[in-house]
Subunit: 221 residues, 2 copies
């Protein structure tokens, strides 16, 4: 993991929100990592379970609520003049995009903002940043409870079990990230992620392609 | 290649252009393969050359004109209730997206329309369809003359040698495809292309992911 950068947890700092205009859709402004402040908060509980338990839980949730929808955020910062993707790491192993499961009836954007606040900032209203959720970059489908994820829905699958939606979330010129103590926030270069499916899984390893249409513009502070 | 469908070349048929409104950006209307007419025309010349010859030609073109830009089209039809991508095949081996190299000073969209007309329809004005070139889906960069393609440009690469841009091209409800005799037009299901990098190369095998954000809507004729 030589190219990954573990984000430092530092003391209290100043926080100012300085949103720029990101109106041109094919230009993506990103800011240096040094623009952001990183702190920690209480650990969040995890469902520590076996795969069999997980499948069982997915099945009973499916029976109760139908299709499970997860929303995940693609957040970029600049480091060493190259875009880096923000990933959360659990127990020094599993890497994941910030996000999570929607509550029944919750909107994609509302749910993603809730998940981002619980995993990347102070939860309470007031301290919570106004996340700028942009376009949907891609969707992955789980056809059955134990199967792989695919970026399409074949015609023979009438009742998919899970849909994972990736949204571009545009960071402002400054922001305070407050991460639960049992999670580690990493900044990983796109060049490290591309085609590293074994390490990052199919969803994360495909993100450099999904972002390739953008002209990334590093805004120097 | 069991899942590929070779498009039949048939006799003269009627041709009517019936453009629909594709205004909602996340819904992608596609039409059954049977809506389209396929015919053939004179063979087009190919630069039949060694890799060394190709690199030599790229180098002298780079010295004369700078960065080489290629534009390629992502064209979809419906078959067996699943989206199929249109690919061109040369000499029963190389598979490629319809498109090609821009002339110096030519616009992306103008160049792609010219290339689509020369490879997929009657060249002459009048018989040429008005190709509806949509959004850019992704870009790939060749950092040096003999290197691989990447979906990003690392900071140490100041002078990339080639940029390949993929554009979504929305087909109308009916169209006449006229393909050079030395090319074969194939319709390949997205499920066959996904993760088949060895067979289709990095660009084509990533297209299902690039399209995954769209809700594909099959318009029955």
């Amino acid at each position: 993991m030589s190219d990954q950068v573990v984000l430092p947890v530092v003391g209290n700092g100043n926080y100012h929100n300085n949103n720029d205009d990101h109106s041109h859709s094919n230009v993506l402004n990103i800011y240096p990592l040094s623009c952001y402040y990183f702190g920690s908060k209480e650990a969040v509980p995890f469902e520590d379970e076996t795969i069999a338990d997980r499948v069982h839980r997915m099945k009973s949730n499916y029976d109760a609520y139908g299709l499970r929808t997860c929303v995940q955020a693609v957040l970029l910062v600049e480091l060493f003049k190259h875009p880096h993707l923000l990933l959360l790491q659990i127990r020094n192993s599993i890497l994941m995009l910030p996000g999570g499961r929607l509550r029944p009836g919750e909107s994609d954007i509302g749910g993603l903002k809730r998940k981002l606040s619980s995993k990347l900032s102070i939860d309470k209203d007031g301290g919570r940043p106004d996340w700028e959720v942009g376009e949907c970059l891609g969707m992955w489908w789980r056809h059955n409870f134990e199967t792989l994820l695919y970026p399409y829905l074949p015609p023979n699958v009438k009742w998919p079990k899970e849909c994972i939606k990736l949204f571009l979330v545009k960071l402002p010129a400054s922001q305070k990230f407050i991460v639960p103590k049992n999670l580690k926030l990493l900044a990983v270069p796109l060049s490290e992620i591309h085609e590293s499916q074994k390490k990052y899984g199919p969803i994360i390893s495909g993100i450099p392609q999904l972002l390739s249409k953008f002209a990334v513009n590093v805004v120097e502070s």
